[in-house]
Amino acid sequence: MAIIRPIAEQDLDQLIFMARESGIGVTSLPDNPDLMRQKLSRAVASFQQKLSPEEAHYIFVLQETPDGPPVGLCGIEARIGRDEVWYNYRLGEVIQASKALGLYRRTLTLFLSNDLTGATELGSLYLREPNRRNRNGSVLSKVRYLFLAAFPELFSERVIAEMRGYSDASGHSPFWEGLGRQFFNMEFSDADFLTGSGDKVFIAELMPKFPIYVPMLPKDAQSVIGEVHPHTQPALSMLEAEGFRKNGFVDIFDAGPAVEAELHRIGGVRRSERLHVRIVERPGSVETLRPEWLIGNERFATFRGLSVSRIHRDGPQIELTPDEADALQVSAGDPVRVMNLKPQEPQDG
């Protein structure tokens, strides 16, 4: 079983450690202790409701045992683009047509846009290498649906996630080389680091403001627009299975796609169910199977999520063992929200 909870002050050292360990590519976790400290403070303040709901950035950590260290994290940014300008390229097209000349041509274009401002973003997903087991990655990603389902009024109906774009084995992004690099001479890894360091807006301001005609880019840059890094393909597939779709916006640096779903149409939100707790002794219920279910306690500042291999349901009630109830910090009669980890589409059966 894995336990997910809001990040707390005492997690700072582990957060800094994970940021260092995550390396280039995990833009949201730059190796910069000061920034990590700020990130943590903001998340803690968010759960304490010291920030307005629009300013909130919620970070959750996963631990494999009730007293274990955090080994992964995930985040929900309540509204993007609130404190600094949020940039994407929007894929568009220009049509040139002339009946006289028998001409009809579509040209793909990239429009610099702030259109995703105000959306809720799922981000900051990271799981330590040794702990990539027991569906922990899936658990970390999907526990957020329980929180969204429990507190939809705190979020935008528009939920997005930005996927890491394609870069080759040596870390070169063909899109960056073909576009960003032309406008200022900086390595992708440096730009990426600055991005995570909160300097994305500075770089964005150096990017071309007029639309870019895609055919003017090198072929290899064109071919990766809207494509994800191979390592990110599983994450993309997981989001797509939950109803997220590419929404025509891509990252201005690596052209990785944004995916989007309406909050109430996210698969995990829709299939989650609110039940009430009954405590039942169930000796021998040792967790040996892979988790199939997530349970959340429907609380805000003291949110807890728990992954379990099976649930015992009795009508509107769910039977939890005392250990499970402890992990979720719930008592008999309390509401919880349960969600099958697997999307319900038959092909995922």
């Binding site: 220009v94 000349l101 406008f183 600055l194 007029f210």
Partner: protein, 331 residues
């Protein structure tokens, strides 16, 4: 003896042959007979004062009436349509925070030159390119403008052909227009000639172009004139026209621009009230002599001198007509 006069329908066949022999294509004059007939008819209307927008076409003939060259004036660039250019501009992409400061060259579609008077359609048989016939055919247009000043704008532009490779293809077009039209340069140029440049230019990409995204060759071609046009460039510069930040939207050839009243030739043109055959004296020199108005306009080279606003010509058969004189060596 060379003589410039308005092109007429009788010149049609000769004009087509002339354009075919010229390796420099003219996007304003297609080597297509029907089109040329239309252009000549239009020019005749213009000379007759019946169409103030018509492009005027002048023909250079030898003493036997053979057509040796053609040049044109579009009184108001674009006519009644917008005249398209790219304006080369710069944007500074800078961040104090990141200590970055970079200039970016950007091409903006522009109609700024619309309505200026444009010198165009110049084509001279190659054998005469290094002779005074070049001056006669180029500068006769300034004499025509001086004689019909009210019919033209105050500013002059001249688009110089850009860089084409040996196959007649333009690297700039390949990087810009071809992406949007799917037509190679020669085909597009031909379409321009058939349908008019504006019709094609209207299909150009509407947003500015960052030149840094073009190939090195295409970038190098921006505002570069074709080597074959060097004599025209030299002449325009001597006249006091300046290379602008405007380039042709098709091949990125440069555009020269200047105020008529500041042009060297315009300021050295002298009117004469009559011509006489006689001994012009020791200070005799070669002049461009223009006489007649509209359809009757004619321009020749003549040796002589101006004395009390009478042109004394060494030519025994000088016509006794008033006109304008411009010294050949004046620029």
């Amino acid at each position: 003896m060379w003589q410039v006069r308005p092109l007429s329908a009788a010149d049609l066949g000769a004009l087509e042959a002339l354009l075919h022999a010229n390796p420099l294509r003219l996007s304003t004059l297609p080597a297509v007979r029907d089109q040329l007939a239309e252009r000549i008819a239009g020019a005749e209307q213009g000379f007759a004062g019946l169409d103030s927008d018509a492009t005027l076409l002048f023909g250079l003939h030898d003493g036997d009436g053979n057509l040796l060259g053609v040049s044109g004036i579009q009184p108001f660039a674009g006519g009644d349509e917008p005249f398209y250019s790219y304006r080369i501009d710069e944007l500074v992409h800078a961040s104090r925070h990141l200590s970055i400061h970079q200039r970016q060259s950007v091409l903006y579609l522009s109609h700024e030159l619309t309505g200026l008077t444009s010198l165009c359609s110049f084509s001279l048989t190659p054998a005469l390119r290094e002779t005074a016939a070049f001056d006669l055919l180029s500068r006769c247009r300034l004499l025509y403008i001086a004689a019909h000043r009210h019919a033209f704008a105050d500013e002059l532009v001249c688009e110089i052909q850009g860089v084409w490779d040996d196959d007649g293809q333009s690297e700039f077009w390949k990087n810009v227009g071809e992406l949007f039209f799917g037509l190679d340069f020669i085909t597009a140029d031909h379409q321009c000639a058939l349908h008019g440049k504006t019709v094609i230019a209207e299909l150009l990409p509407p947003y500015p172009i960052y030149t840094t995204l073009l190939s090195d060759k295409a970038q190098a071609a921006i505002a570069q004139s074709h080597p074959g046009a060097q004599r025209t460039v030299d002449w325009l510069e001597r006249e006091g026209l300046e290379k602008t930040r405007f380039v042709d939207p098709f091949d990125a050839g440069p555009t020269y621009r200047g105020l008529l009243e500041k042009m060297h030739s315009m300021n050295t043109i002298q009117p004469f009230s009559a011509q006489r055959s006689g001994d012009p004296g020791a200070d005799a020199t070669t002049w461009l002599l223009a006489t007649g108005e509209g359809s009757e306009f004619s321009c020749v080279l003549a040796e002589g001198s101006l004395q009390d606003s009478v042109f004394i010509s060494r030519d025994p058969g000088a016509e006794d007509a008033p006109g304008l004189a411009l010294p050949l060596e004046s620029n």
